[in-house]
C-alpha cells in the first residue's frame, strides 16, 4: 500500500460534501436564484452530528445499522477505485463485481432501514429505489464491459489506469458512449433530476428522501455523507473514462480529478436547471437509454 492512493482517497472524502453543493448552486444560479452556499452540506453535517436522534417505536437494530453500512460500503467501494489514476488501495481481477456489490449492499441496508419503520411512505420510497436500481445495474455492468473490452483488464485499477490511456485513441467512440451512460447512472444512483429531485417537498414524489424520512441526527448525517461520496465516486468514474490519467504524473492526475469532479458537479446542476424530473414510469426508459448507449459502445468494440 503506497501513500499516494490513500492521500487521494482522504482528499476525495474531504471534498465529497462540496459536490452536491456545487450542483445545487449551479442550478440556483441558472434559474435566477442565489441559492445556498457551496459548503452548506458541511454545515448541515456538523449540525446534524450534534443533534439528538429519534427512533420510531416499530424500529429494530436494522434501522440503526442502515446508515453505518451505507457509509462503510461506499468507503470500501472507494478503496477499489484508482482515484490517483494509477493504483487502487485494493485491487484484484473482477473487483468491479465487488464495487457494484458493495454499492448494492449499501442500498439493501438503506432500503431495509426504511422498511423497518413500517411507514407506508418509506415502503413506497424503498420500492422505487429498488425499481430504479434494477434498471441501473445492468447499465453499469455494460459500461464496465466497454472498459474491459477496450483495455483488456478486469480490475478497476487496470482498466482505468495506464492501459486505458494507451487504447484511448482507438476506442474513443465507445469510451465516450460509456462515459455518457455513466453520467446518466450517476444521476440515477444518487437521486438527482431527472430520476429524483433532491429539492422536492412532497413525500409522494420522492425516492431517496422519503426512505430516510425517519432518520435523524448523526445517522442522517451519515446517510447524507454516503450519498455525497457516492456522487463523488461516480463522478470519478466519468472523469477517469473521459480523461485517461494513467500517463500523467500523480500530482497532475489528482488535480485533474478535482477539477473534473467540479465540472461533473456543475453538469449535474445544469441538467437539474434545464429539465424537470421524469414521471415515475418513465424512469426505466431513461435507464434503458443509458444501457443502450453502453450496448452501442460494446458493439463497436466487439465488431
Amino acid at each position: 500500500v503506497t501513500i499516494g492512493p490513500l492521500l487521494t482517497l482522504l482528499l476525495v472524502l474531504a471534498l465529497a460534501p462540496a459536490i452536491p453543493g456545487i450542483a445545487t448552486r449551479t442550478r440556483a444560479l441558472l434559474t435566477g436564484r442565489r441559492g445556498a452556499p457551496v459548503l452548506q452540506l458541511y454545515r448541515d453535517l456538523a449540525k446534524l452530528a450534534r443533534k439528538n436522534v429519534v427512533y420510531s417505536r416499530t424500529s429494530t437494530p436494522v434501522f440503526r445499522l442502515g446508515p453505518v453500512l451505507v457509509v462503510a460500503t461506499t468507503l470500501m467501494a472507494a478503496v477499489l477505485l484508482p482515484l490517483d489514476g494509477h493504483t487502487a488501495l485494493l485491487s484484484f481481477s473482477g473487483d468491479l463485481v465487488a464495487f457494484t456489490g458493495l454499492l448494492g449492499l449499501g442500498r439493501f441496508a438503506l432500503v431495509l432501514a426504511g422498511l423497518d419503520t413500517g411507514s407506508s411512505f418509506e415502503g413506497m420510497g424503498a420500492s422505487r429505489e429498488v425499481t430504479v436500481s434494477a434498471f441501473a445495474e445492468p447499465a453499469l455492468f455494460l459500461c464496465f464491459t466497454v472498459l474491459v473490452l477496450a483495455s483488456g483488464e478486469v480490475s478497476l485499477a487496470g482498466m482505468l489506469g495506464e492501459r486505458l490511456a494507451a487504447v484511448w485513441p482507438v476506442a474513443a467512440p465507445s469510451l465516450v458512449l460509456a462515459a455518457a451512460a455513466l453520467f446518466m447512472l450517476a444521476l440515477a444512483e444518487t437521486s438527482r433530476v431527472p430520476v429524483d429531485d433532491p429539492a422536492t417537498h412532497l413525500e409522494l414524489t420522492m425516492i431517496h428522501e422519503v426512505i430516510v424520512l425517519d432518520h435523524s441526527g448523526p445517522e442522517l448525517a451519515l446517510i447524507l455523507f454516503g450519498n455525497a461520496l457516492k456522487l463523488a465516486l461516480f463522478g470519478a468514474l466519468v472523469v477517469s473514462v473521459l480523461v485517461p490519467r494513467g500517463l500523467l504524473s500523480p500530482w497532475l492526475a489528482v488535480l485533474v480529478l478535482v477539477a473534473g469532479l467540479a465540472v461533473v458537479a456543475a453538469a449535474v446542476g445544469i441538467v437539474e436547471a434545464s429539465m424537470a424530473r421524469l414521471r415515475m414510469n418513465r424512469v426505466p426508459q431513461f435507464l434503458v437509454a443509458a444501457s443502450a448507449l453502453a450496448v452501442f459502445g460494446v458493439i463497436l468494440l466487439l465488431r
Binding site: V68, S93, G101, G104, F108, S119, S127, T131, V148
Partner: protein
Amino acid sequence: VIALLLAVGLILTGAGAALALRRYPRLADRSYAGLLLSGCTLGVARSIMVLRGGPAVMVTLPGSLPGGAWMFGLDPLSAWFVVLVLGVGACAAVFGLGYMAPEREHRFVGGAHALLALLLVALVGVVTAQAMVPFLAAWEVMALSAYLLVMFEYQRADVRRAGLIYIVLTHLSTLALIGMFAALAANSGGHSFAELGQGNQAPGTARTLALTLALVGFGIKAGAVPVHFWLPGAHAAAPSHVSAVLSGVMLKVGIYGLLRILSLVGGAPAWLGWTLFGVGLGSGILGVLWALAQHELKRLLAYHSVENIGIILLGLGVGTLGMTYHRPGVAVLGFSGALLHSLNHALFKSLLFLGAGSALRATGTGIIDELGGLARQLPWTAVAFGVGSVAIVGLPPLNGFVSEWVVFRALFAAGPSPEPLRFAVIGVAGLGLIGALALACFSKLDGMVFLGSRRVHESSSLPAHDPAASMLVPMLVLAGACIAIGVLPGLVLEPARAIAISVTHATETEVSAYGTASGDAARISTLGLGLFALSGALLLLRRSAGGLAAPRRAPTWGCAAATATSRMQYTASSYAAPLLAAFGPVAGVREHREANAYRSHPADPVQDDAVLPAWRSLKRWSDRLRGIQGGRLRWYLLSVVFTLLALLYYLANARRMP
C-alpha cells in the same frame, strides 16, 4: 471405501431406528439424529479427504446384480457433491426433528424421517454411481422418496396436485436419461461410465442424441425454464426441512449430471454451450421476476431456486463454450463458477427454507402480506434469514458474492476471445439484472416479513417466538458456513478450480494465465474483513456522537397524518408492483378488477399459459378414442385380430429385408 459404506450404513440404520422405535418417540428421535449425524460427518470427512488431493476410490458391489457391475466411486467431482448432500442434509434432518414434532399426533412422522434419510442415501448414490444401471436405480429411488416426502400432507388438494405434476415431470426426466444411456451405449462396449465415455469421444448422431436427452433429463431435474414448473409447487408443498433438501440439494444432481456427461464425452458441440448459456440467462431472469410476484414465502423461495439454477447454468454454458472454442481458461472459470454456486446455493437456500419453516411454525401462515415485524419476536431466525438474504443476492462479504464473482469473471474472460465466443460477454448485463432483481425481491421479503409490524388484524396475531435450539442450531451452522466461505473464499476456490480443470481435461499451464485464485482469495478476504472492521469502527464512532447518548422513542413519522395503523403499511404486492409493471406480461401477474375491489395473483406463464392448455387439448382429443372401449367383447376381439395381422405382416416384411 469402507468409510463411505459405513456412512451410508449409519444413515440407513438411523432411518430404521426412526421406523422401528415408533412407540418411543424421544428415543427414536435421538437415535435417528445420532446415527444420521455420525454418518453424514463420516461421509463429509471422507469426501473432504478426496477434495484435498487424497486418492479417488472405486468400489464394485459384490454378487451378480442385473445390468453389469454395480460400480460406485468417489472422485473429486463426486466428492464435491457428496459434501453438499450430506452437509446440508444433516442440518435439514436435525431441523426436521423439531419441525415435525407438532405433527406427531396426526401423521406418521417417523416415516417422513426415514424417507429423508433414504433420500440422502439415494442422492449420494446418484453422485457416486460410476455405471449406468446403479445410476438409474439411485435416481429412481431419489425421485420416489422425494415424491413421498412432497406428499406428506396428502390430505390437502394443492399438495396432491403439486405431487402429481412433480411425479409426471420427474419420470419424463428418467425417461430422457434412459434414452441418453441407450444412445451412449450404442457406441460403447460396456455399461460403466468410463466405457461409455471412451466410446463417445467423436461427434456423431448417437452422441448428439445423447447430449440432447441429457439436456432435457438433467434440465428437468435442475428446474431450468421452461421445464421448471413442477418445482415451485412441489417445494412449497413439502415440509420446510424437506424443501431445504429438495431446493438446496436435489436440484444440483441435474448440474452434477451435466458436468459428468461433459467430462465423459470430453467436449461438446457449440449448440449445447449456447443452449445452456441461453437457458441459464432465461431461467435466471424469469425465475427472479416470477419470484418477485409471489405472495407466499416458500413459493417465492422456490422460484429463487429457478433463478440460481439459471446462474449455475450460465456458468456451465460459458464453461462448455470455453471447451468448444479451446479456451481452457474460460472453461475452467465457468465450471468452477457453476460448482461454487451449486455449493453456495445449497447453503443459503436451505438456510432460507429453514428460516421460512421456523417463521411458518411460529405464526401459522406463510402469506407474506399477513406477516410483519417478526424480527422482534424471532430475533435469531431474523438474523439467520438476513444472512441468507444477503448471501443469495450475491452481495459481499458473503458466499453468494464469491461464486457470482467467478461466473462474472468467466463472462468477462470470454470478452477478449475470438468470435463467436466473445459475444458471451453480453451475459454480464443479464447477470447484473438478475442480481438487482434479487435485491428487490429479498428486500421485499425481509422488509415485509421481519420488519415493520404484523399486517393482519391485531387480535389474530398470537405471540410468536424463536424455535427450540435443535432448530436454531442448524440454521446458525448454515449461516456460519455462508459467512466463512464469504470471508475465506480460499477454502473453496482451489478445490473447485481443481475439479473444473479435471472436467475440462486441461493442463495447469493452459489455465495459469487466469490466475491461481489464491491471491484473489486473499484480497477478497481483505475486502470482507475491511468491511466488517469499518462498520464496527463506525458503530463505535457513532456512540461518541452526542445525540445518540439518549435517543428518544416516538411513533413512526406519519407525514402529518394522525395515527398510522399496521394495516396502513406498504404491502409486498405494492412493493413489487412498479418493477413487475415495467416487465409487462412476462411477469405473469393476473389482475382482477371489480367496481370496488382489486386483486392480483401470480401465475406461472409456462404452466398456466402453455402446458395446462396443451394438456387439456390433448385430453380432449384422446377422449374421442374412448368410443373404442365400449365394453363390447367382439370389438375387443376384432382389434386383437387386426393387431396380430398387422404384426405378422410387419414381421414377414422385416424377415425379407437383408
